[in-house]
Symmetry: C2
Subunit: 402 residues, 2 copies
Amino acid sequence: MALIVQKFGGSSVANAERVFNVAEIITNTFKQGNDVVVVLSAQGDTTDDLIEKANEINPKPSKREMDMLLSTGEQISIALMAMAIEKLGFPVVSLTGWQVGMKTDSTYGNARIKKVEPERIQSELGTGKIVLVAGFQGINKYDDITTLGRGGSDTSAVALAVALKADLCQIYTDVDGIYTADPRVVKDAKKLEEITYDEMLELASLGAQVMHNRSVEMAKRYSVHLEVLSSFTRNPGTKIKEVPQMEKMHVSGVASDKRTARISLIGLEDVPGIAFKIFSVLAQKKINVDIILQSIGRGNTKDISFTVADNSLNAAVEMLNANRDIIGFKDITVNDRICKLSIVGAGMVNNAGVAAKMFEALSNASVNIQMISTSEIKISVLIDRDDEERALKAVHAMFFNN
Amino acid sequence: MALIVQKFGGSSVANAERVFNVAEIITNTFKQGNDVVVVLSAQGDTTDDLIEKANEINPKPSKREMDMLLSTGEQISIALMAMAIEKLGFPVVSLTGWQVGMKTDSTYGNARIKKVEPERIQSELGTGKIVLVAGFQGINKYDDITTLGRGGSDTSAVALAVALKADLCQIYTDVDGIYTADPRVVKDAKKLEEITYDEMLELASLGAQVMHNRSVEMAKRYSVHLEVLSSFTRNPGTKIKEVPQMEKMHVSGVASDKRTARISLIGLEDVPGIAFKIFSVLAQKKINVDIILQSIGRGNTKDISFTVADNSLNAAVEMLNANRDIIGFKDITVNDRICKLSIVGAGMVNNAGVAAKMFEALSNASVNIQMISTSEIKISVLIDRDDEERALKAVHAMFFNN
């Protein structure tokens, strides 16, 4: 008998039929003798509908009131799921964020979890009940409702797994695990049985979009065993835990991310402090910079190129132009027709051959590389967006076929 | 400067336009220098929509989970209203039932308020904010959400007025006060400037349907000054307080109630204890009996007739037939084509002439009276439902036209 935390996303509980599908997964886990704590997101479009209702009244409401509004979505989900589980004849109780003592800071709309007081859940589990918890929400020191921002329900689930010392935290989504590449693009992509936290972190930030980094980081910090699996199949998913296979060269997957754009500043003075000026200007607007490439100085000028999230592009360019005199560049160019292609793998840093194999695959597929960036467990290249699919297939085939 | 509690029903906040209409009433009250605490119901059909969602999953959910579900409706209302008031540029905060310490017993679906802890509201008022409170909901000793049942939001408002020692509790509905008769039927019905608690109680139970008795009873017990008025006009409403005009004959209004049905038990043995048997059988099923009429015994048998709410009729007949041997009646007859017509007035008991005038009016209009019931401040007659409108107009004209 184990204590298992299960999290189901909004699409998994979008209508009555899907609610019963999930109720079956939950009660099957319970029937096997496990203690089960379930975190639920709002049903399907509920959150969007509530946002639309708010917009109609006030396009710029306070974040506190927005949280008061949005937190109802998850509350509706847990109540309906409890009714479904009652219908199936199992003991169940639903609890909101404040009822489970999900204490957060006061950053409405994007609150951070400070601690979880597990007593209520433990006492409900002690009476033999399945416990349903509203994800995405918490309560601050003023007893006001907060929401956790993007990836919030995943984070709720991991935080509960930490507080309850759960044996396993299962994240149910609409994909049945982590693949070596996006299976919609690369038909022979393989599902991974397991993957390390760091690999998962790189894959998430590279656009694999299965779990939000924040929850994976928390799971890593507290060594929570995660499993990503689908609520629509009954297949085993991908386990995420700290079991790197250091012995062999190990590439876990290939990911591509289109939501990126490149900015190049041309003709910068080749003196110390230029990079600092550029990136502190961008930091003022909280614009995150990803890959940075600085050319070797030619004469007394140099160029700096870097990528930003595509939805930050306009703000970044505006900010740079406004500070043109301070930074001192001759020209600024922009390319939003790019794509970042990455391979991720824990053993990579010990294997010089990995980068070479990736570049060979791209060369064979006639894909031009614009920028390169490497980390301990990742190699990313910036390529033309039109080359994305061809490059993804070529690199995947190089590492995973045969 | 006064402390005013205002309550707005679901139809008053049904859409964005109406939300802003109510926001204007609230902020006008606030601009006049008052402390304002507002209780809101769920928007329009929200509660019905939520019940339908629940029914789709489980037609017999636990009441605890139903309360978890339904309480979201009022939470949505307060958040949206707060956004509207923010848009108008006023300081505001919305609070749920548990945030305002609305402590109830644990009768889910029909909870009774035990006490209100006013500290949170008082501290928000102290910082100059308009305070919005979710009606209809509370929290029990287990920290679980409860709902207050029928008339719940009115009761929330009165309970808050008591706890905060408010100067006035305004109940905004879709009628602009209490009339001498239903103005949809009697065109020259007059709006009352004021009325006593007891008169209001009789009118409410007689189908005037403006406020639920429960909230009027609480207002009477704690001498809360009530005002009933419309959110759609800016007219003054009807004040409800303890100012009976004992000197003159005083009929406040005429009301009729169709939601009633008559049951007659024929051929009962004329011995003591029969009435007890009948009404204890009905009490087992929590069926309330209204008017009771017992015939004078003829020989060794008698008949008893009584009225019940029409939606209890089938259950009552079923229960009586099941206990036929115990009660011992020869026949049971039912009439669901009846209507209860009543006149209400505080000074009535001291004026024998009032009943006579009422019966004269009915006689002139050729309305047959089936049963009569009187109380300190009320005379009710049971008549054929087809006579309702004619009787209502005749009785109203008798007392109010001249």
